[in-house]
């Protein structure tokens, strides 16, 4: 009661001195501008501006140490006739498609396993996520040692089992190198897919499965007609992120093979780094990076439509 009594006279005083300045400070738009300012400053200075600068640089012959001049499409014409560039495009697509498909399949399978009841559930779930926590480069270094041409533990085990007679040259042979980096990527990506899909699975009501079982549904039918449709929206989002990060992957390749052997594992990102920073041809590197944008836009479009469908499924306006 006392608070009301003391605040009453003050409130009476406030009304006469509500000047234009005071009214400005309760204006939503004016206030919001100040609240948005720090985030906007970071994102405009270090994200939006470099994005446009990168596209512009791809039309110049910029080099490290000297400014470039506008050369039109020359960088792209150069890349069009560059077999290494096309090899890197092929590698990137192969890497993205194979790794994402397997990550999805294994991740979904692992999520379904983790969703079942078992002892030490929380501990197992926590352990599964560890590959995602540890910095990619550091786990890639561990894979480098596992894939070593002389002391590989995989080769050693297979020889002891009598399956092969010589060490496998994991990172020295083109196809083995591709398979090895894809495996390392899958290893790192599965926990993310599994744990996010598990979060989606936990929202599915068990009574749906019970009802379906009473109606005589097999376990495959329960998955196909209950789990999968209810999970589709989250699958769309997770896979968009997964595809996006796999497509633009840099660190795993750089730590394991640096694009070798004979460019067999060069992705567009690593080629862009090699041409742009190491060789100093910034313009050409920027052109390779810009060539990735159409693929990213496609991924974003998929994400957008996935979310649209999610809104519709949740039934805000129809249903």
């Amino acid at each position: 009661m006392t608070t009301i009594q003391t605040s009453m006279p003050e409130a009476g005083k406030v009304i006469p001195r509500s000047s234009a300045w005071d009214r400005l400070w309760i204006n939503r738009n004016w206030l919001a501008m100040w609240f948005m300012l720090p985030a906007a400053a970071f994102l405009i200075l270090f994200l939006a501006y470099p994005l446009f600068l990168g596209v512009w640089m791809s039309f110049t012959d910029d080099r490290i140490g000297r400014g470039g001049v506008f050369v039109g499409l020359e960088n792209y014409e150069w890349l069009r006739d560059d077999s290494i560039f096309w090899l890197s495009v092929f590698n990137t697509l192969l890497y993205t498609i194979v790794a994402s498909a397997i990550k999805f399949a294994v991740g979904l399978y692992l999520a379904l396993l983790l969703n079942r009841h078992m002892p030490f559930k929380a501990l197992i779930r926590a352990a599964v996520l560890i590959p995602f926590i540890v910095p990619t480069v550091l786990s890639a270094i561990a894979f480098w040692w596992i894939y070593d041409s002389q002391f590989s533990i995989i080769s050693w085990s297979l020889i002891k089992m009598g399956l092969i007679s010589h060490n496998i040259n994991f990172l020295g042979d083109s196809n083995w190198a591709r398979a090895s980096v894809i495996f390392a990527n899958i290893w790192r990506g599965v926990p993310f897919v599994a744990i996010t899909l598990l979060a989606g699975l936990q929202t599915v009501s068990p009574s749906l499965y019970e009802a379906a079982t009473l109606d005589g549904a097999t376990s495959w039918q329960r998955f196909r007609f209950i789990t999968y449709p209810l999970l589709t929206p989250i699958i769309a989002v997770v896979m968009t992120f997964s595809v996006l990060f796999t497509f633009t992957d840099f660190q795993l390749i750089w730590a394991l093979t640096r694009g070798g052997p004979v460019n067999a594992t060069h992705l567009m990102a690593t080629l862009s780094y090699q041409r742009g920073i190491l060789s100093g041809r910034l313009g050409e590197g920027a052109a390779i990076a810009t060539a990735m944008i159409p693929f990213l836009l496609a991924a974003i479009a998929i994400s957008w439509f996935g979310m649209q469908r999610r809104k519709w499924q949740q039934g805000t306006d129809n249903d």
Binding site: A39, T136, V137
Partner: protein, 307 residues
């Protein structure tokens, strides 16, 4: 209470014996034990072993004496006979490793702090001030989440050069928020939406300013969200590689991931011990942090995807 116990006893008497002390919900009791072993435990065991093996291998190698590392005939490579701390000692006292670790931590903590402050303000403005165009700004921030570092590092290198920040940790502190702000803003928007409007209305009627509402009401209520955002952002910074590789040149300024890749790789056949020790010591802080905040971490990861 007694009734439920009686019910449970009656149900237990009816059910087959193996389901008796099974506390599971749902239909798990319909499965027999052998079936569970084949469809659940064996596949799960294989996947978990594959997921954790590289860490076992990393830890094992970092405490293995050199002669056991390269002699796989006399010593079983899956075990270590006389463990040594030589590699870890060499790492900590004969290289710049403590300096790299400090750089990584300092850069990660500073940029995380900056991004959280910016994200709290931005998320509050988008969710609660509902200014003109708030929806559009939210969508734009989500778009920013989808712009990967791999297409930005070349133009950013020239921007950093132009600002005179090349080879300085400050460049990373300023650039990393572009990776963190979109993510944490989306996460915090989700948290702020769950805080009831009425609390704010009460505070407004009592004469609180927007700033007071944010600091005294919204932030204390959103602490779990802030912890999630903080931990996830910190991990992302620690993990970041391409910007650190591009912007930092001198040895003493490097972060752990860059230093490991560039400074340890000398054709020495005995490099593996110290390399693995470096990877292990560089991962441990994050794993320890993760062990304490598993739930926050998972909610950060899934929350950002769901929103």
């Amino acid at each position: 209470m007694t009734e439920t116990i009686a019910d449970a006893a009656r149900v237990a008497a009816v059910l087959p014996t193996e389901a008796k002390d099974d506390h599971s919900e749902g239909m798990a009791y319909l499965e027999s034990v052998p079936r569970r072993i084949v469809t659940l435990y064996i596949p799960l065991f294989i996947i978990v072993v594959i997921l954790l093996f590289p860490f076992y291998w990393m830890a094992l190698t970092s405490i293995k004496p050199d002669e056991q590392l390269i002699d796989m005939e006399r010593f079983n490579p899956f075990w270590v006979v006389k463990p040594t701390f030589k590699h870890i000692q060499k790492l900590l006292f004969e290289t710049n490793y403590p300096q790299w670790l400090w750089n990584t931590m300092y850069v990660a903590a500073a940029s995380t702090l900056l991004s959280i402050i910016a994200s709290v303000l931005a998320a509050y403005a988008i969710v609660r001030l509902r200014f003109r165009g708030a929806q559009t700004v939210g969508a734009l921030i989500f778009m920013a989440y989808l712009v990967p570092p791999s297409i930005l590092f070349i133009p950013l290198a020239t921007v950093i050069q132009a600002y005179g920040l090349f080879d300085s940790p400050l460049s990373l502190i300023l650039v990393y928020p572009t990776l963190l702000i979109p993510f944490s803003t989306w996460l915090l928007m989700g948290y702020f939406k769950t805080i009831p409007f009425e609390l704010e209305e009460c505070a407004l009627i009592d004469g609180a300013s927007r700033w007071q509402i944010l600091v005294k009401i919204i932030i204390p209520l959103a602490v779990p969200g802030l912890i999630s955002a903080f931990i996830f952002s910190f991990t992302l910074c620690w993990n970041e590689f391409i910007y650190a590789l591009t912007f930092l040149q001198s040895t003493q300024n490097k972060t752990v991931p860059v230093a490991i890749v560039n400074e340890f790789v000398d054709g020495d056949i005995y490099k593996w011990g110290s390399l693995m020790a470096g990877a292990l010591v560089g991962s441990l802080p994050l794993v320890i942090l993760y062990a304490f905040f598993v739930e926050h971490y998972v909610s950060a990861m899934t929350g950002a995807v769901k929103e």
